[in-house]
């Protein structure tokens, strides 16, 4: 967090006790920090107060005598005298609760909120006991779906406006609002415009009654039979704190936990509902071995591990390569790296698939920003993928910084993004022409982008830098970072999407990095690690693209796939598939079958999210604890334990006996993680996570990005292959709540490009690139840079296209038109 001047303190009297509180703080917050809880429904610490529910009435002394006022929107003033427990206050609270319960149905036994309901709790604590109201309560049709996920029970609503304020203030998509007045007021969407927000689940969590419920949790359990554990969301790399709640060994819901450093308590619906994939019936539960006929057969762990050990032992160490590991914990990634470097002895390790940025840039760019720095920034430069689609909780933080903290936002992207409506400036550029934009921004006296450059003179500047699309040259991000670091007071937050990709890189799952952010080429760093591990391969290894090429050429013989699907994520799907076929031996350690490991020789089921304990590292380098609350399905095992057993079969010694042992070894051998212990993250003030390196941590790697002189490369229809939140990834498709939200695949063109090609909106077209052809519906998109085509990445059919630099779009031949599918158009919030 940036340094902020300490706030001015004032003294007030709270229930006869003198307390010091910061000037301008609301009474309700000041009292709560002091340990006095004032009941409330509409007040939420992360939103502006409205004073709607009147539950927080307190008595304040004024020159006109003692008055009742709402504590949630009355700021403290010097010498203020506040009484929260007087007879008048108690009578007011009883009165308010009696009023609220006039129309609130007493169906608590049926209601999902019953047992954890603020209205229920506060009625017991502050309520009158019995109601004088004997008339008929209001009735509505119940419950009505607001969207595919959220249901609304209007009878239970107490009109606190938390949900409507959240959607307007925090997520910025006010698709629900009050309708009607007086007794008939209720919250509803516009007809035929569902509450299709990426953040709709938050309204369910903050609803103080059971008016909003989410389908995945509806009637699944009661609060008193839930077992909860805090953890970190593994959907993206922003490190959102969550609590995983289970009943009868089944995860039934995930709630956001207020982490000041990362998510402020908010989650995207993907973070919230992706848990359904854990219990998918398609989870792998037994090891599978390919038999002579080429079919996968269930096998025992002993047989499967023997087969893997034999295969890996029968080739030279550097003929083995490994792809993946970015969805695992740091401990698992570390065990994998150590297994590969010391037991197999190979340098060909890469955790990033397809959309790789330079690992040294991701792990070592300095000065690196923290998410909290956004709140103190004067200007925020976002030159990355659409945050709303790729980093939804980070999107909310940027939104917060811009709308609440007054930062100015500049977005650079080839297409509209979720942040455009709050951006001060937007640069739309054709994919491939990024270097030209950087040059224009840098050049003195150039007339273009004058307003942008004016804004960027005001520091501190926080630059969020990543790839805008998969077809982008990864060196562009470094050029952008190099430019951004020249701006006043600037820091860079490098963005890579996969859950724990930063942790995996920090644990050495990169061809050029050793654990603890040590470059392979650093002699001293390698020598230190060798003092613990013995001799290591001295050369940098191959990255994913190199591994694929090596397998195809026969230089590499065996491949480990650790939760990776390079066929779908790769640049050229057919080439990756051919490389996998060419490999002598492929072992996959995964939770599901996917397009890549269908062809594997051995598939080992591993424990995943909520089933493993460990730490993860987010985009800032913040390490947080993830926890285990479930056993894995069937015979699945933790990755480190599989690797440990494999090592002993291969005659090596991994020493990965259990999670804490690995964590201790990380603290010992990884310089940047030197003082990291699980205890620190589990107890005390560091539960929000610790940014590495801290205390004894040393980071030798200081990566200084430079403009590598990249040339603009745009061809006629440059491909923009951006990610969408609900893509065709395994976790989405295996979560019933999310599977239906995947947008229909389409290709987007600028209207002028479409008319130049004589194509019309909605037409079926063939999109062809270097690596494949796909038939898609055409949609016109005036926000797209001219001369480019946007194809969402990794949807049901679009992944076949791969990631060519340029594509051609042609009308499909009229004969094929017969089998044109009529699909209902689904509107995602990002559309």
């Amino acid at each position: 967090m940036p340094e902020q001047p300490p706030p001015e303190m004032v003294t007030i009297s709270l229930d006869g006790q003198e307390i010091e509180v910061p000037q301008g703080e609301y009474i309700i917050k000041a009292a709560e920090d002091q340990g006095t809880y004032i009941p409330r429904f509409c007040y939420h610490s992360r939103m502006k107060p409205v004073g709607l529910c009147r539950m927080c009435l307190v008595e304040v002394e004024t020159p006109r005598g003692r008055i009742l006022t709402t504590a949630c929107n009355t700021p403290v003033a010097p010498e203020m005298i506040v009484d929260t427990e007087s007879a008048v206050v108690q009578k007011a609270q009883e009165g308010i609760l009696e009023f609220l319960l006039i129309n609130h149905p007493l169906d608590c036994p049926v209601c999902d909120k019953g047992g954890e309901c603020p209205l229920q709790d506060q009625t017991v604590a502050y309520g009158p006991g019995e109601s004088r109201f004997v008339e008929e309560k209001r009735h509505f049709e119940k419950p009505i779906p607001l969207s595919d996920i959220v249901l609304m029970d209007r009878e239970r609503c107490i009109l606190c406006a938390r949900c409507t304020r959240f959607s307007e203030e925090v997520s910025g998509d006010p698709l629900i609002e009050f309708v009607g007045r007086g007794n008939q007021t209720h919250v509803i969407t516009f007809p035929d415009e569902p509450f299709a927000s990426y953040f709709s689940g938050n309204t369910v969590q903050i609803c103080p009654v059971g008016a909003l419920t989410a389908k995945p949790y509806r009637f699944k359990a009661r609060p008193w039979d839930l077992e909860a554990i805090e953890s970190v969301s593994m959907v993206d790399a922003s490190g959102a704190s969550i609590s995983i709640e289970t009943s009868q060994n089944e995860v039934v819901r995930i709630n956001g936990v207020d982490n000041d450093a990362t998510n402020h308590g908010w989650l995207s619906d993907k973070d919230r509902f992706v848990f359904q994939a854990i219990h998918s019936e398609n989870r792998l539960a037994t090891p599978l071995i390919r038999d002579d006929a080429g079919d996968l057969q269930p096998a025992s762990w002993g047989d499967a591990l023997d087969r893997v050990a034999d295969a890996l032992g029968s080739v030279r160490g550097d003929e083995v390569a490994s792809i993946g590991g970015a969805n695992n914990t740091n401990e698992e990634a570390f065990a994998l790296g150590k297994f590969l470097r010391t037991v197999v002895v190979t340098p060909h390790i890469d955790a990033q698939v397809g959309d790789a940025l330079n690992p040294e840039f991701l792990a070592g760019v300095t000065p690196r920003a923290e998410i909290g720095d956004l709140d103190g920034a004067a200007t925020i430069l976002v030159w990355a993928g659409d945050l709303k689609e790729e980093f939804p909780t980070l999107f909310l933080r940027v939104r917060h910084a811009v709308t609440q903290m007054g930062a100015k936002l500049i977005v650079v992207h080839p297409r509209r993004t979720g942040l455009d409506n709050i951006a001060a400036e937007k640069i739309t550029y054709r994919p491939g022409e990024g270097p030209e934009v950087v040059r224009k921004l840098t050049a003195q006296g150039d007339q273009d982008y004058g307003a942008v450059r004016d804004l960027l003179t005001a520091g501190p500047v926080i630059a969020l830098v990543g790839l805008t699309g998969r077809a982008e040259d990864p060196r562009l991000a470094e050029a952008v970072a190099a430019y951004a670091l020249g701006l006043p007071g600037s820091k860079v937050l490098p963005l890579a999407r996969r859950a724990n990709v930063f942790g995996a890189l920090d644990m050495g799952l990169a061809p050029t990095l050793l654990p603890g952010r040590v470059p392979v080429k650093s002699e001293s760093g390698r020598a230190e690690l060798e003092s613990h591990w013995g001799p290591l391969p001295g050369e940098a290894g191959l990255d994913t693209a190199g591994i694929i090429a090596g397998l195809a050429a026969g230089d590499l013989k065996a491949l480990l796939l650790v939760g990776a699907d390079p066929v779908r994520d790769g640049r050229n799907p057919d080439a990756v598939r051919a490389a996998l076929d060419a490999a002598e031996f492929v072992v996959s350690l995964d939770m599901f079958l996917n397009d890549s490991n269908q062809q594997a020789s051995v598939i080992l089921p591993v424990d995943g999210f909520a089933e493993t304990e460990g730490t993860v590292t987010n985009i800032e380098g913040r390490v947080q604890k993830v926890n285990r609350i479930l056993p894995g399905p069937g015979q699945s095992r933790a990755l480190w334990s599989i690797l440990d057993e494999l090592s002993s079969r291969m005659g090596g010694q991994l020493g990965a006996g259990d999670g804490p042992a690995i964590a201790k070894e990380i603290a010992l051998v990884a310089p940047a993680y030197r003082s990291m212990t699980w205890d620190r993250l589990e107890w005390g003030p560091e539960r929000d996570g610790v940014v590495m390196p801290d205390r004894d941590g040393v980071q030798e790697l200081r990566f200084v990005p430079d403009d590598s002189g990249l040339r603009p490369t745009a061809g006629r229809l440059a491909l923009h292959s951006g990610r969408v939140l609900y893509d065709g990834g395994t976790r989405n498709t295996q979560s019933p709540a999310l599977a239906g939200l995947t947008p229909d695949p389409a290709v987007y063109l600028h209207p002028r490009d479409a008319s130049a090609l004589a194509l019309a909106d909605g037409q079926e077209v063939d999109v062809a690139g270097e690596f494949g052809t796909v038939r898609l519906r055409l949609e016109l998109d005036p926000s797209l840079a001219e001369g480019s085509a946007y194809v969402p990445a990794n949807l049901d059919s679009t992944w076949v296209l791969g990631v060519p630099d340029v594509v051609t779009v042609e009308a499909q031949s009229s004969k094929g038109k017969k089998n044109e599918k009529k699909k209902g158009k689904k509107k995602g919030a990002g559309e």
């Binding site: 998509d173 006010p174 007045r181 509803i188 516009f190 035929d192």
Partner: protein
């Protein structure tokens, strides 16, 4: 998106008025309420499509526009007859027999309170105070006020409306033939009538012409 493309189905003068309204406010969303009246005038009542158009024009979401439109009772989201008869039932009018007036009007028009007649001529509603307590009971026709309306006069008023179906209803004219005691005689003549059951403000709801 330009104003013309959003409301291309509106009449040309109303499109022009919408443009004027949008320019009149520093923030586009401020024009939402006058635009809703304009949309009512254009479509007869606020259809979902009309609310969506206003949302598009003002940069609000349709849900927010719907919220505003449903809060104020004078925005009609259902069909309204050619003549909207609003009978005040607040305290002064109630004491002076507004219930009987309402009943007489319901009977004459065959339209129960809160509904529209099947031929689309009348809509009858009861409303809260319309600011004519001194001349209670008071009735509005298309928001044009008539004071001191006794039950039988109310019925006659409706009969007149049905039979002569005036293009413009004008307060002074109706007051003369169907009204009774007025609150005060300020000497102000209200001769600019209303052409539609949309509240008049400026020239948008009314004819802008003096009646004969």
């Amino acid at each position: 998106m330009s104003v013309a493309t959003v409301i291309s189905d509106w009449s040309a003068p109303n499109q022009e008025r919408a443009r004027t309204l949008l320019e009149a406010y520093p923030e586009r969303r401020s024009a939402a309420m006058p635009l809703l009246y304009l949309a009512s005038l254009e479509h007869g009542h606020l259809t979902p499509a009309a609310m969506a158009q206003v949302a598009e024009l003002t940069g609000l979401t349709s849900a927010q526009v719907q919220s505003v439109a449903s809060f104020y009772t004078m925005y009609k989201r259902d069909h309204v007859g050619r003549y909207l008869i609003s009978v005040c039932t607040s305290i002064s009018c109630f004491l002076m027999g507004a219930d009987d007036v309402l009943e007489a009007i319901e009977e004459e028009t065959g339209t129960p309170d809160g509904t529209t007649s099947s031929d689309g001529t009348f809509s009858v509603e009861h409303v809260e105070c319309i600011g004519a307590c001194g001349g209670a009971p008071a009735v509005q026709v298309n928001y044009e006020l008539v004071e001191g309306v006794a039950p039988e006069r109310g019925a006659t008023l409706c009969r007149w409306l049905r039979e002569s179906s005036p293009e413009v209803v004008v307060t002074d004219e109706m007051q003369k033939y169907f009204g009774g005691v007025r609150s005060f005689d300020w000497g102000i003549t209200e001769t600019v009538g209303a052409i539609a059951p949309v509240p008049a403000f400026g020239p948008y709801g009314s004819t802008g012409e003096e009646s004969a």
